[in-house]
């Protein structure tokens, strides 16, 4: 069987590392790419070789098609894995990768679906027509809008509130809920800018915004020989700013019948665009009627893929690589089952008490939990700088247990052992969500965090934390101060490295 010898990972952070791990396990060499800001990043250290792209701006570095392909050719890689975000759903990138001339070892392979599948699902107009033809229910809306007037008319027809979102979107980037017409033009402008920066594509569409819905998606997976299956669902309704923060599988909402029905719809959706490799068909589900609507298909590996891996026992990145190399996906739908329950929490460098705004800085301590049933996919380590250039995802904490209740308990215990100092992280917030009765009862919908959940950090520090800070100053601090007082002029911090963390 044809296999790859070397893969370039056109991404950064935890996903680049996760892909490199899979490559290592399969005996494949890896090439990292990096920007100025990521010169010392963990993903660079994980790779067999690393190629500098450009300055820290995403457009010049991780979104730079020419540089990425040149890096793959220069390093004699035979395939490119795009990860998620950046160019992963950019059809012209996929096309340029496979049409690049790479002598002497032949062609470059794009690890993902065909460029046509990406284009069809990225183009919301075409994808919606195909979904309807395939018998997949869709959300009412309009695509292919150009002028501000087009948007106004479309929004009026659909009826406010509407959702303006990037046609090339994913991960909540370039997406705005518009409640009134007077917010429309500014929302369009800023969604456009965000989309251009995140995906290199500024097209937008308008659709009916359905509040109080569950976001439930199905993982699909196919080979290039016509075998296409679904790997069950992921419940991703806990969101802030239309971006997921907690995902789990199985969904507490689905009955076996609805799971079967939605799984079949997901497979039909993927088949309608000739899909192969890993993909995700996203649905919104009205919990009152249990009606579901096709939202979009993400033609790439998903951030939350680990919960599917833990419950199905399949390594999705292994299989992405293997089917890209031409192997058959040897499973049948009947042969796949969900085992136990998995939950993922996204550990973000953001401040829930400050509107979930990003937090940047130097990671003074970064300690990941360990233990049975605990998996951490992380992109950072102590001492790393979290910059404002890229996504605020620090790590994903994933747990697996025999049922939902135990999985939640395991997650709560693991989060307690996740230490992030130096940037504000959302760990306390995640704990508050996990212990809320709505989450326990599985009734959280996508706007729940904004509308139903009031959370504030404690206003006063606990006595224990004050005592701990004081004793730290008197014990671990003082020992070093003897060395550093000679050179450290800072009276506030006699035990800090005189070179400073921030250069």
């Amino acid at each position: 069987m044809n296999t790859f010898k070397k893969i370039l990972i056109a991404n950064r952070g935890e996903i680049a590392i996760r892909i490199m791990r899979a490559c290592k396990e399969l005996g494949i060499k890896t090439v990292a790419v990096y920007s100025d800001a990521d010169k010392n990043a963990l993903h660079v250290q994980h790779a067999d070789e690393a190629i500098h792209l450009a300055n820290s701006s995403p457009a010049d570095s991780y979104l730079n098609t020419d540089k990425l392909i040149r890096a793959a050719l220069d390093s004699n890689a035979d395939a490119i894995h795009p990860g998620y975000g950046f160019l992963s759903e950019n059809a012209s990138f996929a096309r340029e990768v496979v049409s690049a001339i790479s002598s002497p070892q032949g062609k470059l392979t794009f690890i993902g679906p065909s460029a046509d599948s990406i284009r069809l699902m990225g183009d919301k107009a075409e994808s919606k027509i195909r979904m309807k033809q395939a018998g997949v229910p869709t959300v009412p809306g309009f695509e292919g809008l150009e002028s501000e007037n087009d948007f106004k008319q479309a929004a009026q027809e659909v009826g406010y509130p509407v959702l303006v979102k990037a046609a090339a979107g994913g991960g909540g980037k370039g997406m705005r809920v518009v409640n009134h017409e007077n917010e429309l033009s500014e929302s369009i402008e800023s969604a456009r800018r965000e989309a251009l920066n995140a995906f290199g594509d500024e097209r937008l569409l308008v659709e009916k915004y359905i509040p109080n819905a569950h976001h439930i998606e199905f993982q699909v997976f196919g080979d290039q020989h016509g075998n296409l299956l679904h790997l069950f669902e992921r419940e991703c309704s806990v969101q802030r700013r239309y971006q997921k923060i907690i995902e789990e599988t199985p969904s507490p909402l689905l009955t076996p019948e609805l799971r079967e029905e939605m799984g079949q719809a997901a497979v039909k959706a993927a088949q309608a665009v000739g899909y192969y490799n890993a993909g995700t068909v996203e649905f919104i589900v009205d919990p009152d009627t249990l009606k579901f609507y096709f939202l979009e298909m993400n033609t790439r590996l998903q951030v939350e893929h680990p919960v599917t891996e833990l419950t199905t026992g399949l390594d999705l990145v292994h299989w992405q690589i293997r089917v890209a190399a031409g192997e058959r996906f040897p499973y049948s739908q009947e042969g796949l089952t969900q085992r136990g329950h998995a939950v993922e929490c996204r550990i973000y460098a953001e401040d829930p008490a400050n509107g979930f705004l990003p937090s940047t800085g130097n990671l003074l301590q970064f300690i990941e939990p360990r233990g049975p049933g605990i998996r951490v996919d992380s992109g950072f380590t102590s001492g790393d700088e979290v910059t404002h250039f890229y996504d605020p995802l620090l790590a994903k904490l994933i747990v697996h247990a025999e049922n939902r209740e135990i999985a939640i308990q395991r997650m709560q215990a693991a989060l307690k052992e996740f230490i992030v100092h130096g940037v504000i992280a959302n760990i306390d917030f995640l704990q508050a969500v996990l212990s809320h009765s709505d989450f326990r009862n599985g009734v959280v919908t996508t706007r729940w965090v904004e509308t139903n959940f009031n959370w504030a950090p404690p206003s006063e520090p606990s006595m224990e934390s004050l005592v701990a800070a004081a004793l730290a100053d008197l014990t671990i601090a003082n020992r070093q101060s003897k060395i550093e007082n000679r050179s450290g002029p800072d009276p506030y911090s006699p035990w800090k490295n005189p070179s400073g963390f921030r250069n």
């Binding site: 965000e194 301590q365 102590s382 404002h388 606990s462 701990a468 004793l471 730290a472 014990t475 035990w495």
Partner: protein, 169 residues
């Protein structure tokens, strides 16, 4: 000796391994059972196993200038240490000064000095981690001073714009 965190004063004395701390008229006995310090340059950061009034607990503490990051029982807080000689923190900003709500880059500047602005108007757009924040006028007024340019990187709380009622002094 006295230490001040977040304006709470801890009066501390030690007798061998036992520390006696007084804060808010409470007296607490504490002992450091074990401590792990990270290797330089993070030598001030580490983990402490403590006995506080007979209760065993583990604390993680990191230091960044006057800031102390403390995690106890899974809860993290950021404390500010004051030396007593001077108070920590910045002088409060003047009423018309708009500051950056997050660190990031100035993506767009929609106004110039001298412009008249109305409440709710977007004055500039900040971007961090691919997320945009619109900095809007808190009230009607005139832009007295613009402190930043498009493309510039700003820190959280950095002053961006000063707005006054009228330019006449």
């Amino acid at each position: 000796m006295k230490l001040n965190f977040n304006d709470t004063i801890l009066d501390i004395s030690s007798n061998g391994k036992i520390f006696t701390l007084t804060l808010d008229d409470k007296t607490i006995h504490a002992e450091v059972l074990h401590s792990d310090r990270e290797a330089p340059p993070h030598g001030g950061n580490g983990k402490l196993d403590l006995l506080i009034d007979g209760q065993h607990l583990t604390a993680y503490v990191s230091s960044d200038n006057a800031k102390r990051w403390v995690t106890v029982n899974g809860q993290t807080c950021v404390l500010t240490k004051s030396s007593g000689a001077r108070k920590g923190g910045h002088a409060p900003h003047a009423a018309g000064e708009l500051t950056a709500p997050m660190p990031g880059q100035v993506r767009a500047v929609n106004i110039s000095e001298g412009d008249t602005v109305t409440k709710g108007q977007t004055l500039l757009v900040l971007e961090a981690m691919k997320m945009e924040i619109r900095v809007q006028a808190p009230r009607d007024g005139v832009v007295k001073k613009l402190f930043v340019k498009q493309g510039q990187t700003v820190e959280r709380e950095q002053i961006l714009i000063e707005i006054v009622d009228t330019l006449e002094s």
